[in-house]
Amino acid sequence: MKLQTKLTLFNTVSKLVIVLLFVALLPSLIKTINQNYTDTRLRKQKDKVLQVVHNKGIKFFIEDNEAYASYTPLKEEYVSIEFAPPNELLDTIRNERRAVEGDTIRYRILSHTFKIDKVNYLLEVAKSVNTIGETSTPLQNIAFEVLLSMVILTILADLFYSNYVLRPLSLIIKTKLRGQKFPNFAAYKKVQTSTTDFEYLDMSIHEMIETIERTFQKEREFISNASHELMTPISILQSKIENLFEQEDVSDELKISLLEMQRILNRLKTITKTLLLISQIENEQFLKEDTIGADELLQDVYDEISIRLQQKDITCEIQLPANVRLKSVNKFLLFNLFFNLVNNAIKYNKEGGTITISGQPVKGGFMLRVADTGIGISPEQLPHIFNRFKKFRQSMAQDSFGLGLPIVKSIADFHHVHINITSEENVGSTFELTFPDDLVGV
């Protein structure tokens, strides 16, 4: 789950929980507030009544020893004054039921006793409990609606802000870590952000990339330098051997030994040349300015390799559309690529087998397929076949040192050509090379 989604989700849930908790607590809160408010009002009303009694005398309320009671028309409130036993002293506020004209109603009642002319009176000021609680539900609903819309608003604001604040992170991932050709990274471009953490992350990734790049560069330089350094001594040895061959007093036995040395030297030379070629490709020291017909290229390879086909009695079929041209490529390298691919297809083929080279347009480019009826590659070897120096099929005792496929891979990578291999043991292997659209012209 994305960081932004996580943050938004957490925000939403936590806010909703708080709102729901608040809304749930609202009735009891409102009840307390209302009760306090009612109690204060009742006390004020009591004081007013007592003031009236004080001003106008008790007779204003009680005449002919009759108790006084006054109701609002809907019996929501009442005030009553009646006689009380002489020793009763009350000053309380309580919820109690009262029967008023046949209805039993729960009231919040303030009871207060007072004495006038040694007569004890009981004053009751009351308000119906129903009227106290009736604001609670609408208030709760309004509060819920208001809070919910506030929650939605803040979530939207959060979403917008987190999107804004996290954008540099996705930018760092997109531009620095993904879609980069490893280990050749583009030049460092600072990601615009005011968040110091992202600045720090960006810098750290950049430093890491630089270290990796330096290491790769060193490796490539080393291979290149080492191969170059080897060229001169090989050259000297080769010249020495060739000059020895020319000497008349050298016996045939010695010449055969010299030939053996020449063979070993040739092997050393090929390894060095291959390593140098790979390091030159990886250092992008080749130009990609050639245009060549796919059929023409494969025909060249066929001509070069036909002797090997003959020797193993292998049929090679080339079925390519005539009008497909490969552009912005290096002809020499592509020749090397297909030469090694077809050479492998011959080497690991069966006597009298076939090799089929075909091509077809596919989504995003053009696919060239080299399929053989050979011994195939086992599934456990398949992931390693492009590894430099990882020599397989040693039991085959082939004259090879496993550098053919690394060459293929380096050249394909250099041209951004995608390779896909399918293979089944004892049935054959198929190499599919997809040339991207920008390399294909008609």
Binding site: H228, M231, T232, Q238, K240, F245, N336, G404
Partner: protein, 225 residues
């Protein structure tokens, strides 16, 4: 033919000298650019072999000097660093050929011969082998005036290379290096040369047995003239 060898690696310079002297070239050798520069200014050479990686001198500068004061000389660049840009630069500056190290001495010799042919405009470079006549310029083989078209490009390359080094046994690695020169491939020692020779013999036998193409047991092949 006067050859100036400019090579700081003494062992290699000495082998070059031995080989070229053995093939009737007159050789002078110098191990650094300064001496070479002096020699170029004073003497006239037919060939100047320049190693680009000289410790005291930029090989390309030496080439420039050679082109000025020894305009007739054919310049061959020998170098361990044979990157595309160096190669283009060297050839653009007037080098006649480029040989990346390590190279075969025979390869060097045939390149030198090719340059000579170009320089002196040799058009009709025909060699007679029994009743066969081989035209090295047009790259054709004919038997008693009848063109043989069955010979492939590679097969002709082999015959031409053997003719260039006539009467000399060429080993399989030497032939193979010449034939597969540009292709970097995985097989260091295979018998493709034998297969080619077999094919050549088969194709020529239709007309006449090519006795001049000899197999030297255990070593390689030779064309005797």
């Amino acid at each position: 033919m006067n050859v100036l060898i400019v090579e700081d690696e003494k062992a290699l310079a000495s082998e070059l000298e031995i080989f070229l002297t053995g093939n009737n070239y007159l050789c002078e050798t110098c191990f650094n650019g300064t001496t070479a520069s002096e020699k170029i200014a004073v003497n006239k050479y037919d060939f100047i072999l320049i190693d680009l990686g000289l410790p005291d001198y930029d090989g390309l500068d030496l080439l420039k000097e050679a082109k000025q004061s020894n305009a007739e000389a054919a310049c061959l660049i020998l170098t361990a660093r044979a990157e595309v840009y160096d190669r283009i630069k060297g050839l653009d500056m007037g080098a006649d050929d480029y040989l990346p190290k390590p190279f075969s001495l025979l390869e060097l010799q045939s390149r030198m011969q090719a340059i000579m042919r170009r320089k002196f405009g040799i058009k009709n470079n025909t060699v007679k082998l029994g009743s066969f006549s081989i035209d090295l310029t047009d790259r054709t083989i004919s038997h008693n005036g009848v063109m043989i078209s069955a010979i492939t490009k590679k097969e002709f390359d082999l015959i031409a290379y053997l003719i260039l080094h006539k009467n000399r046994t060429l080993t399989r690695p030497q032939l193979s290096e010449h034939i597969w020169g540009s292709v970097v491939n995985d097989d260091y020692d295979s018998n493709y040369i034998d297969a080619h020779i077999k094919n050549i013999r088969k194709k020529l036998n239709v007309y006449e047995s090519p006795d001049w193409l000899e197999t030297v047991r255990g070593l390689g092949y030779r064309i005797t003239l």
